[in-house]
Each structure stands twice: as structure tokens, then as C-alpha cells.
Symmetry: C2
Subunit: 262 residues, 2 copies
């Protein structure tokens, strides 16, 4: 039987430790093609490059350490990577799965909105391919991903076997470890970031603002959100919709006041 | 009674015709503060700038033509504009509404995923402010927005009066006109872009790829999608969820195969 082809991308760039952890692990299950940004693209959401040309470049650096994995980098966003991959090197071999990450840092709760890692997973989902984004709640470049491995294997095995419902991808986050409590299906915690910028003055006397801030959990008493489960040591699986439009049967209840027949 | 404060942003940059159409119109309803990207930021989705400093700069150019409108530009994405606005010039005057656009080009169907205009509206929604993105299906710099005016007025009046449900913003698109058939509440058409890149060769002999492509409607027989209604001359109103996680009561039916108790 042919081995499945698995397409990999991330948002930390092709040199990041997390994506190599993922490609090595996925090599057990199929032929891996990794197409990642040239450099860091964190926070890019589903951004696409609309008015600059893109290049896709083969990478030879990992021939010895990851034999069999095809590596490329792209001068664009994570979503660009998936789009351009599907148009070029994957054109005649449809991936059985898109896996993104492993992100260095949490994509739980509202982080999913801004995440480039999840942006690439959403794009895989938009292409009709079962897609999963993996993240570890540790921003360190030298993060240790080993505790997450059995959970990644489990999700990959099930997804390759059963697929995923159309229009739904998975957002999977793991606590730092080393001990993990198990894996739970859940939803994204309501929350927001506060005090998001730190002001400084540049050498010319102008104010500049750096993104910082801290996460505010808006449902701290709910033990079943992804944020709460991560804090208790669980790996969280959040099924996530590509289409955000409110299902029409729900609309009349939610928007009674919008009389559109004026 | 105090006039409400309305925060405006876009993704075509502060010089674009569409946003000035919007600020002039909104001045009838409140005090308008417009905080837009320095230049074009189309396709930026909810991207945020994570590792470069941001600047917010007052703009004097429109003092005479738009008296009373406060103008700023930001060296970042549409979502950065809303975040930085809330942290700086809006810190002590919470907007009654966030309005984004008017985008030069459709944000119907899957375009909503990539749209910077809707990215800014989503960020307004994430801040808990009733937020609406407006788009005209005409990419021209000199697009004529006048047919859309009564529809924008109607939505703004209702939103200022009744607000919007928490976690839901509106994605509003108008056909090119000049004749419009009315306004309809609907959902985003399922579809995708095909043949998304045009390949060229750069002067050094390397392949480069430019984003192009054409929209494929995946439900062409459904007369009630936003794409179908726009084609029939209607302005479309798509209530759009910020949170994409699948509601937990639905999960067991949708993912029965993912036994997570291994």
C-alpha cells in the first residue's frame, strides 16, 4: 500500500525545533513534505501575500538528519505556504493530512485567532484536507516536545484512519510537561489580552509600542475550557470551524432587531 | 446627550477612497476617530505585529475636508490599528461601535477568512464592541460607493441603537450598483479559489508566483448564499462568529471516532 503523503508547515520558520520534532515523528506514518516560512511568521493569522511575488525554495540542510523528508521554504506567511504548496509541489499528490507546528507557544483560547500555525491548518481545511495544528505552551527555542509525542501519534493515527468532518480542523495544545494528565476534547476559553502594549521612546523622541500584555480568562470558574484543562496538565483538542458564519436557523433569534426589509 | 464615538479602520490604507466615504457618512452619527494602516494591508486577516515596534501618527491632511474627524495612521496591520487604538487614543473613550472599510473588493464567502477589513472588525468584536465590516464588490481605486450609503446608514443606526450579540460581528457586502435590490440576512457561500498562482520567471531565471485565481462557488444551486444574493443585486449581511470552536454539545456527534481516553 502507498504511504500517505503528509504536508507540514508552521509559523516559527523552517529552522524552528518544533517543526523538526513534528516531521521526524510524522515520517513514521507517511511521506512528509515540509513547506515552511523562511523566517518567523508568528501572529500572521490567515494572512496571505497579495501583491508581492512568492518563491518556493528546496532546502538541503536536513538530508542527513531527516532522510526522506522533503524540505522547502517560502518567502511568505504560513497560509501562503499551504496555498503555494498545493499549487506546486503537491499538485499531483494530494496530502492525506496537513499538520502544522509544533508551535513554540500556546494557541489556546483567543490565541487561535492570531496564530499563523492555525492559519496554515485552516488553509489545509479550506483545501478539504484533514488538518491539525499542534502547539506546546512553551515559547523557548529549546522547548522539550517529548511529552507531547504519544498524543500527537494518537491524533495522527486516528485522523489518517477516519479523517475529520468537512470544514473542521483541530487545534491541539499541550502543557509544558514533563508530566501530562491525558487528553481532553474541549472548546476555546473566552478571554482577552489586557495592557497589550509597552510604550518606549525611540532615539528620535517618538513613542513606539511593543506588543506585550497578559491573558485574562473570562470564565475562570469553568473547569472545562482549554485554558483550564491545560492548567491542569491535559492536552486539549479543540475542534475548530473554518466557516464563521452563524448558522441561519439561529439568526432570527440572535438578530431580531435587524429589520432588513426597510 | 453625548454623541457616540465611532472607531474606524480599513485594510486599504488611510488614503483609500472607501474609508473616507465611511468617515464622512459616520460623522452624521457621532464623533469619528479613524485609525488606519499607513499603506495597503489587504489580505492580512487578523495578523498582528509581534516583534516590531508600532507607531501611531496623527494625520492632518483631512482637517478641511472632514472637519471633526480625528485621523491617525499606524505602521501595522488592520488588527494592530484596533488594538493600538484601544490602548492609546481610545483608552478613555470607549467606542460605541467599530466600523471597518469600506473595502475596495468583496469580502463575501471565503474572502472573509483572509480579509484585513474583517480582521479589524473581528478585533473590535474581541474588544466587546459592536463591530461591522463594509465592503463593495469593486476593486477600483475610483469605486463609486454611493448606492451603498442608505444601507450603511440603516445598519449603523440599528447597531448604535440595539448593539449586537456578544461575539458576533457583521460582514456586509454590496454589489457594484448603481441599482441595488435590497438587503438580506444570509450566510457565507461555501467555495474556494482555484488556480491561485500565476508563475513568472524573474530576471535571474527563478520562478516566482503571483496570487491570482478565480472563485469557485461550491453551492451554485443555493439561491440564498451571500455570493448568490450579491449576484442578484442584494446587499448581504452575514452575522459572523469570533469564536470558531465547535459548540461542545455538537462535538460527540461530529467526532465520535476520536477516542481521547487512550
Amino acid at each position: 500500500m502507498d504511504r500517505p503523503v503528509i504536508l507540514v508547515s508552521n509559523d516559527d520558520g523552517y529552522r524552528a525545533r518544533g517543526v523538526h520534532e513534528l516531521t521526524r515523528l510524522l515520517s513514521e506514518y507517511g511521506d512528509v513534505v515540509a513547506i515552511c516560512p523562511e523566517g518567523p511568521q508568528s501572529g500572521k493569522s490567515m494572512a496571505i501575500t497579495v501583491s508581492e511575488p512568492l518563491r518556493i525554495t528546496p532546502v538541503d540542510d536536513y538530508k542527513d538528519t531527516e532522510p526522506g523528508v522533503e524540505w522547502y521554504h517560502v518567502n511568505g506567511t504560513p497560509t501562503d505556504c499551504i496555498k503555494l504548496a498545493m499549487h506546486t509541489v503537491m499538485r499531483d499528490r494530494r496530502p492525506a493530512m496537513v499538520c502544522t507546528g509544533i508551535n513554540h507557544g500556546s494557541n489556546a483560547s483567543v490565541n487561535v485567532l492570531y496564530s499563523g500555525t492555525m492559519g496554515a491548518a485552516f488553509e489545509g481545511c479550506a483545501c478539504g484536507i484533514p488538518s491539525v495544528g499542534f502547539s506546546l505552551c512553551d515559547h523557548s527555542h529549546a522547548a522539550d516536545f517529548s511529552a507531547m509525542r504519544p498524543y500527537i501519534r494518537h491524533v495522527v493515527e486516528l485522523t489518517l484512519r477516519y479523517g475529520l468532518p468537512e470544514g473542521i480542523c483541530l487545534n491541539i495544545n499541550a502543557p509544558k510537561g514533563p508530566e501530562l494528565a491525558g487528553m481532553r476534547l474541549t472548546t476555546a476559553c473566552r478571554g482577552h489580552w489586557s495592557d497589550e502594549y509597552t510604550a518606549r521612546t525611540d532615539p528620535h523622541g517618538r513613542s513606539i509600542f511593543w506588543l506585550t500584555g497578559s491573558f485574562i480568562n473570562e470564565e475562570p470558574d469553568n473547569p472545562d475550557t482549554d485554558a483550564a484543562l491545560l492548567a491542569r496538565g491535559f492536552v486539549t483538542v479543540v475542534p475548530t470551524l473554518l466557516d464563521r458564519s452563524v448558522p441561519s436557523p439561529l439568526q432570527p433569534d440572535w438578530l431580531p432587531q435587524l429589520d432588513l426589509t426597510f
